[in-house]
Subunit: 395 residues, 2 copies
């Protein structure tokens, strides 16, 4: 594989110091070997030359929170929710997460793979170069392991790095006793997914799981090699963030209702704050306090939260728009959070940054300045995605 | 030109009665000749057959409010505004509408055409099949006529129907006395744009033009064959809607602060309400009371308001999302407003509807239900756009 010499970069966001005007990036053997002003650049030599014609370049997006392996169609439920129908009425008529669980359990591994691969291909076309995928629509041992196998396979076959997360503690499944499900989670499911999941996540929320239940689940997961992530403070402040800090979790996610106390604890414990502005938008609820978390010293990531119930986003561009316009991050903070923040939240230190040694994941924007991403919502500005120095589309 | 036989439509939105499952649309000589359930459809005969494979079909989008002929780049101003910089500070450093006016005046007609054509091609690729284009970034006779010529030409060369609107009364130009500009508008500019503009529009707002000024401008325009549109009640309730009703204007636009009194007057006078949810989103201000206007009996349209200052949207899909999620229109209302509502607001009665005699403008969505449009924001769901029965892309 010959190297790639990316020239004519009008504006380069490296996440490693100030942005550079008129820049060059060199990628050799899949990794950045040089990045900086064109005036100081090495010779192209026998590398393939890519002239960006003054376009802006940023690191590839790292989407640190998705639920992209699922089946079923909940667009009609969305229609009804937006028309004001009550959540309980929708649930009573078979809607809500349980409808996704029913549809997902019925699908074969190959069918689930095809659905996930279509989504991941669209994500990749929109500039995403690494992604986290949660299970959580099986809620039984067989389906949860199937979802995690699909999550691994979709990354391998498309050549996109995937981190997998076991989210059996997404909801108590229909028709099952709560204590029995907790026993199943701890006694059977977690041992069964060991090796398939990099992380274990718990939805800590009124109506989902308590802090004490989450502590037990995550402690068991840790003994099976899975580090913790926590769905925390999304709809109510229920203590998930403080638990994440107590356990030294990799991330606390959502955080719409997080307080300064939560932010200080997360920052002190080095827990990444993974914010999901698409979900807050679709739920018509307040955005997470992104600027406050940033100021408190948290590693802030923003993610699509791609899921069929509350945030069916696949592209990071509208997430950046929401993070700037609704949440109040600056343009530079939002782009950092969508790239470097996501990478750190997935323990991928060589991604989301453009400096020697980093993976050669770049997005070339069809615009002279990355501020065009939130400034022009709904226009596809991804001109080219480069993954490990390769300009080809995923398989 | 042979006819088009569109089959395999999983869900057809006609805007002419209930939606149809498993439908067929036939287009002959550019116009719909038949639409309805597949079981009743005529034979395809020698028409070209297009199998939609179960996808949903809706009428083409009609974008009834854009300012798409402009030059310059205000992305850095957007960055500063989002970071909290005050409007006056931005204006003092050369930003705001005046920066677009400066940049636009400097460009040749061909350069402005290329910029507008790029935008209109992207709009067309996103499913827009007819569009309104306002001038208003010249604010002198020569540039305003240039902008209107460009607006006409871009529609002709791309084969996309365009309605043009003279918006010399967008702002008082830099360095010019207010009364002198009003004299210029009425005495020179309006006569000069007669024949180039279908409509005349006035920005009625604190800091822009008063109701009395607008009345005089629009009365003069009427004597030159231009019907009225009014930018009304966007940032404050300043009386533009009642003026639009009084004058029997074609539309009142924005209406973010419209009251039930305004709505009743618009409905009674048959003035279309053209809402711009992208601008409210980007300005972080309340959405127009779309449901209230709808209930009052107004023809409600939603539009991109494509412009470089407050709403740089080109695609109608995110506008539908905002209309549903933020404004509270139902999915069906929002889709109607983006198609039939836009057509009626542009006096194009044979567009935005799928019935015999209507123009054969269709959008095939890569989804089984049009609710996917607002349900999956940021994912490009336009599988194919058909313009007057033609599946080719614009020139």
């Amino acid at each position: 594989m010959t190297g790639l010499f990316v020239t004519g970069i009008g504006h380069l966001t490296t996440n490693d110091g100030d942005s550079v005007r008129d820049a060059v990036v060199v990628v050799d053997d899949g990794r950045v070997s040089w990045a900086g002003p064109a005036s100081d650049a090495p010779e192209a030599g026998d590398r393939t030359v890519l002239d960006c014609g003054g376009r802006a370049v940023i690191p590839g997006f790292v989407d640190a929170h998705t639920h992209l392996v699922f089946a079923g169609d909940r667009s009609d439920e969305f229609r009804r929710k937006m028309a004001g129908e009550d959540y309980r009425s929708i649930a009573a008529s078979g809607g809500g997460i349980r409808s996704t669980v029913r549809a997902t359990r019925q699908e074969s591994e190959d069918e689930l793979f095809e659905l996930a691969a279509e989504r991941l291909r669209r994500m990749a076309a929109a500039g995403t170069t690494a992604v986290e995928i949660k299970s959580g629509y099986g809620l039984d041992t067989g389906t949860e392991t199937r979802l995690l196998r699909v999550a691994r396979r979709v990354g391998e076959e498309l050549g996109i790095p995937v981190r997998t997360t076991f989210l059996g503690a997404h909801a108590v499944p229909e028709g099952m006793d709560r204590d029995a499900y907790l026993d199943l989670l701890v006694g059977e499911m977690i041992p069964a997914v060991a090796g398939l999941a990099d992380y274990c996540d718990v939805f800590v929320e009124d109506g989902a799981f308590t802090v004490d239940e989450a502590r037990e689940i995550l402690a068991t997961a840790a003994t099976h090699g899975m580090r913790a992530r926590v769905h925390a403070e999304q709809l109510t402040r229920s203590g998930g963030a403080l638990l994440a800090a107590e356990l030294g979790a990799v991330s606390a996610d959502h955080l719409d209702r997080a307080t300064p106390e939560d932010a200080a604890a997360l920052a002190a414990a080095g827990v990444a704050a993974v914010l999901c502005p698409g979900a807050s938008y679709m739920l018509r609820s307040p955005q997470a306090p992104g600027p406050m978390l940033w100021e408190a010293g948290c590693v802030v990531a923003i993610a699509t939260d791609c899921n069929p119930g509350t945030s069916y986003f696949e592209s990071m561009a509208p997430i950046i728009s929401l993070a700037v316009v609704q949440m109040g991050l600056t343009v530079e903070q939002a782009i950092w959070a969508a790239t470097r923040g996501g990478a750190l939240a997935l323990e991928m230190p060589d991604r989301g940054i453009i400096r020697p040694g980093a993976t050669g994941d770049l997005v070339v924007l069809d615009a002279p300045d990355p501020a065009h991403l939130p400034y022009r919502p709904g226009t596809d500005l991804v001109w080219l995605t480069i993954r490990s120095g390769d300009t080809a589309e995923p398989a």
